[in-house]
Symmetry: C2
Subunit: 186 residues, 2 copies
């Protein structure tokens, strides 16, 4: 399963406008929820270097353990992923730690997820980072160009063509922010 | 959670006798099931060397992912473990493989598990290995001597005092057997 994903950062005002537009073009609210994510690094390689990710997520729907492979195209955040449902957030963390994985950083998201046919549009507020819009389409095909075209069409309809796409994950953006906050050592 | 465990190998006849004795002293059948286990090795260290184990188990009760720490006493198979329930055997295997873990060997067990107060007695038939009896008590205490004494008492009652205790896991016994089957290279 390949996850084709485009992420755009906006300000609070634009975020509110887009939320209304998504509903106007037929987007149905699937869920509004708070997600608590913890990302882990591997004992055998640096996942930042290898562009992989391992995450435990807790939200109102349950707890999931997700592996994300390296990004596979140069434009979007497209990557393949393997996800399982697990029965405990705490025990999941403990098990990964016993296997040598180290927790990197928590990420807390407030998201409203809309569905428009087979495309998911997520209106996200990320603690410490701000407002984002994520468009996602799952693809069984290796060739993701069709999925990207579909997402681009929606971006045009939402009037978001002037906004750059962000390929960094929320985790990477937060790590970058943490780094900048630290005083420069002399 | 510490799992205090003693394992004894018997022949088929003795296995049948013990099964009857367990029932006579009040053991209640909890479940009779076939377990399909796959063990994995780590990309960052050799779990055989470090005496750790990572297992995915599928049986009629569901799918579980279990980490077992090194044995913590010299006599029994006592070790601590962390276990989570997961929703898919195949996806669990795929996720571990993507994280760099390598499947070592499958182990197929037919077991009848009896409960005698807080002790579990498992009458096991392991494909390619034969008949075994496992006694197990979970302990919240770090000091496991009391739990071991309790298990020893049951071993006496079951008339199994003359049988040596086996500290190797079924996986280790199977790997040893595979090794012996291989022709010696010249």
């Amino acid at each position: 399963m390949v996850e084709v994903e485009i992420k755009i950062q906006v300000d609070k005002e634009m975020w509110t406008i887009v939320k209304e537009r998504v509903q106007k073009i037929g987007g149905q609210v699937i869920i509004e929820k708070e997600e608590h994510d913890i990302y882990f690094n591997s004992p055998s390689k640096d996942f930042i270097e290898s562009d992989e990710a391992l995450r435990i997520r807790k939200d109102v729907e349950g707890v999931r353990l997700t592996y994300k492979g390296p990004k596979i195209d140069k434009e979007t955040k497209t990557r393949d992923e393997v996800e399982i449902t697990i029965n405990s957030f705490e025990k999941g963390i403990e098990l990964l730690e016993r296997l040598g994985f180290t927790p990197v950083r928590p990420v807390v998201k407030n998201r409203t997820i809309f569905r428009l046919e087979d495309i998911y549009i997520s209106l996200d507020y990320i603690e410490e980072l701000g407002y984002f819009i994520e468009l996602e389409k799952k693809s069984e095909e290796k060739d993701v160009s069709r999925a990207i075209t579909e997402l681009k069409n929606i971006i045009t309809v939402l009037n978001l063509n002037d906004y750059p796409w962000i390929r960094e994950s929320y985790l990477e953006l937060l790590i970058e922010k943490d780094r900048k906050k630290r005083p420069i050592s002399r």
